[in-house]
């Protein structure tokens, strides 16, 4: 069986027709969909070259490519070629999913973002800030940003090196730095005790959803930078993707309100250099349905909309062709075969036309291509590399068999 399902027989390194999005940005390829790609590229050009915060709602059917887009554009190296100087000094892409436990939604989102940022990076950022502005000025800046003395001080402590003798952190004298780091980390995850608070010299913990979004806002501001807004090259663009926001439907009002209002406050706290992309699955294409679930707090902040619409037959054809091109082991044209190999051109057209208009989305196209090619390999329509080809008749036969199976007949 392993030999029969050898995708090298059809000049492909592997099955390119995945039914789930890639797990890592490096694995993502972009095939076809030039309009959609351009929309994102235009968005990122603006993001890298100007200060304005962007709040983007990406909406489309399940399987239309929203998560794939998040993965693909989650790699900085794909963004830099889009712009010329002057541009931001760096880009920080973060990908998180909408929390699955509504009761702790704000905590889960906060924790996921902090973990994505990594404490080692945060410590370095605050250390650099202290080196640039001095201890007193940094402390004031952070307390102003969080609108809280203890919360601001906690962030400031992240950037202080333990001292051997005397000074601010006398408590940590002769203690290993790792221990202090852990104590501070547990503070940020709200798992420290009253004794720990006393040891850290902080009067209170991070107690509420509002606190968490305030801390998050300031930590993200540390990444973005505190330089004057117009100095684009002194800032980092933060690109935060939140996937599966349709899951807000699982939230009761008492969970939903602090979460969406917290996100809104986060947007308002970061009026520059933030790109927030919200992925929302919506089968109907009725944008209003998405805004109802998101609520006014978030909807009112949206600056851009990207609709992952079903593909036209021509777009679907090009998508499959280009996807195969990304995974070619050899160019079939060099063997006298069509570029659509293992399909004849007509067979590929037939395959696209077997899908209903709303089903012409990447996931369903992938699924159908995978079914047809696998079946061709199993039925030995293709017996060796380049030997045999998929005809329109074969596509029709596989699709009809599949429909019969779906009907249970």
């Amino acid at each position: 069986m392993a030999a029969i399902l050898d995708w090298n027989y059809v000049y492909l390194k592997q099955n390119p027709f995945a039914d789930t999005p890639p797990r890592r940005p490096e694995e993502a390829v972009w095939a076809g969909l030039p309009r959609l790609k351009k929309q994102f590229e235009d968005l990122f050009v603006q993001a890298l070259a100007t200060p304005a915060t962007q709040v983007v709602l990406n909406w489309g059917a399940w399987g239309s490519g929203k998560t794939h887009a998040a993965m693909y554009f989650g790699l900085k190296e794909r963004l830099w070629p889009l712009v010329q100087e002057p541009h931001v000094r760096d880009v920080c892409p973060i990908y998180v999913r909408t929390p699955k436990e509504p009761a702790q939604a704000d905590q889960e989102l906060y924790r996921n973002i902090i973990e994505a940022l990594r404490f080692s990076n945060l410590r370095k950022l605050v250390r650099d800030l202290i080196a640039e502005k001095g201890q007193e000025e940094t402390l004031r800046l952070l307390q102003d940003s969080t609108s809280s003395e203890p919360l601001g001080k906690a962030i400031w402590l992240l950037g202080l090196e333990p001292k051997k003798r005397g000074g601010q952190l006398a408590l940590f004298d002769d203690e290993p730095s790792e221990e202090r780091n852990q104590l501070l980390e547990s503070y940020f995850f709200s798992t420290c005790t009253k004794r720990d608070l006393k040891e850290l010299g902080l009067s209170r913990g991070i107690d509420s959803a509002q606190d968490r979004f305030r801390v998050l806002g300031t930590l993200l501001q540390c990444i973005i930078g505190f330089a004057p807004t117009e100095q684009v090259n002194q800032h980092t663009r933060l690109v935060l993707w939140i996937d599966e926001l349709e899951d807000l439907i699982y939230f009761q009002s008492r969970q939903y309100r602090p979460f969406t209002q917290g996100l809104r406050d986060l947007i308002d706290r970061l009026p520059n250099y933030l790109t927030l992309l919200m992925n929302f699955t919506l089968a109907t294409g009725a944008f209003d349905d998405a805004t109802v679930v998101l609520g006014d707090a978030l909807t009112s902040r949206i600056t851009h909309r990207v609709y992952f619409q079903p593909l036209t037959p021509e777009e679907a054809y090009d998508y499959i062709l280009e996807l195969m091109r990304c995974y070619r082991s050899e160019d079939p044209s060099s063997k006298g075969l069509p570029s659509t190999y293992p399909f004849t051109e007509d067979a590929l057209h037939t395959l696209v036309e077997t899908l209903p208009p709303l089903g012409r989305i990447p996931r369903d196209l992938n699924k159908r291509c995978s079914q047809v090619v696998s079946q061709a390999l199993m039925e030995r329509v293709i017996t060796a590399p380049g030997e045999g080809i998929i005809t329109p008749g074969f596509v029709t036969k596989v699709v009809e068999t599949q429909i019969d199976l779906d009907l249970g007949s």
Partner: protein
């Protein structure tokens, strides 16, 4: 002639409504004040009574003064009603989806219902209650309140499509009705909160059994549809003298 309309409620809706409030009043209290609320003996004995402990405030309301048992609709021969209504029985079901346009292909099918099984008997007996209430002349129309959409498709809608007994409501309809009746006592935002909570309760319940993306989409559309209805109702109510 009783002045309140009759509402036949299923267990699912009772559970959904049991812990919710509208304008600082338990939703079940609203329901019981507005409607003569009843259910079949089977529903009471096998579905509601065993779950009273899990129904929070709603459970307390139903326990107080034996209120729960008093809502049982007493009818002669419930099994005869069940047999007459559901054997034989046909309903419109989705046969498949068109592979070209994606539209659902529906057809009317004769279905054989296992009347010996207790599965879905509560829904079937509640349909019998609806017929009995109108047939014996006490109520001219009834409201059949359920949030179990499978049960609606399987039993309630096919019965109400043939027998003009009244209408099938979801809890969203009930809440919207309360807003129409008492808009001086509540604001649209309160109603929206209840819509969201009802939806969350329903989808979380379904999630425990493994919710499909399609079902999640149906709830999403339902929430959106009722919020749009609410906007329209609020808009109209504001203009009234």
């Amino acid at each position: 002639m009783p002045c309140k309309p009759l509402c036949i409620v299923d267990t699912c809706s009772l559970i959904y409504l049991s812990d919710m409030e509208l304008a600082r009043r338990p939703l079940l209290r609203w329901l019981f004040d507005e409607f003569e609320t009843v259910y079949s003996q089977f529903v009471w004995e096998n579905e509601v009574q065993p779950h009273l402990g899990k129904m929070g405030k709603g459970g307390q309301i139903l326990r107080r003064g034996n209120a729960g048992v008093q809502k049982v609709w007493r009818m002669p021969g419930p099994m005869q009603y069940e047999r007459a209504l559901f054997s034989p029985f046909s309903r419109v079901e989705q046969k498949s989806r068109c592979s070209r346009c994606g539209q659902a292909i529906m057809e009317e099918r004769t279905v054989i219902i296992n009347l010996g099984s207790d599965e879905d008997r509560g829904e079937r007996h509640n349909c019998g209650v609806a017929l009995d209430a109108v047939r014996r002349g006490n109520y001219r129309q009834v409201v059949y309140l359920t949030d179990d959409h499978h049960a609606i498709q399987k039993y309630a809608q096919p019965v109400f499509d043939i027998f003009p007994l009244g209408c099938v409501w979801s809890s969203y309809d009930l809440v919207l009705y309360l807003f129409v009746r008492h808009c001086d006592r509540m604001i649209a935002e309160d109603v929206e909160v209840v819509f969201r909570d009802l939806t969350a309760k329903a989808v979380n319940e379904e999630r425990q059994q493994g919710i499909s993306p399609e079902t999640q989409q149906i709830w999403q559309q339902r929430l959106a549809a009722y919020i749009h209805k609410l906007e329209r109702v609020a808009q109209v109510m504001k203009q009234l003298p």
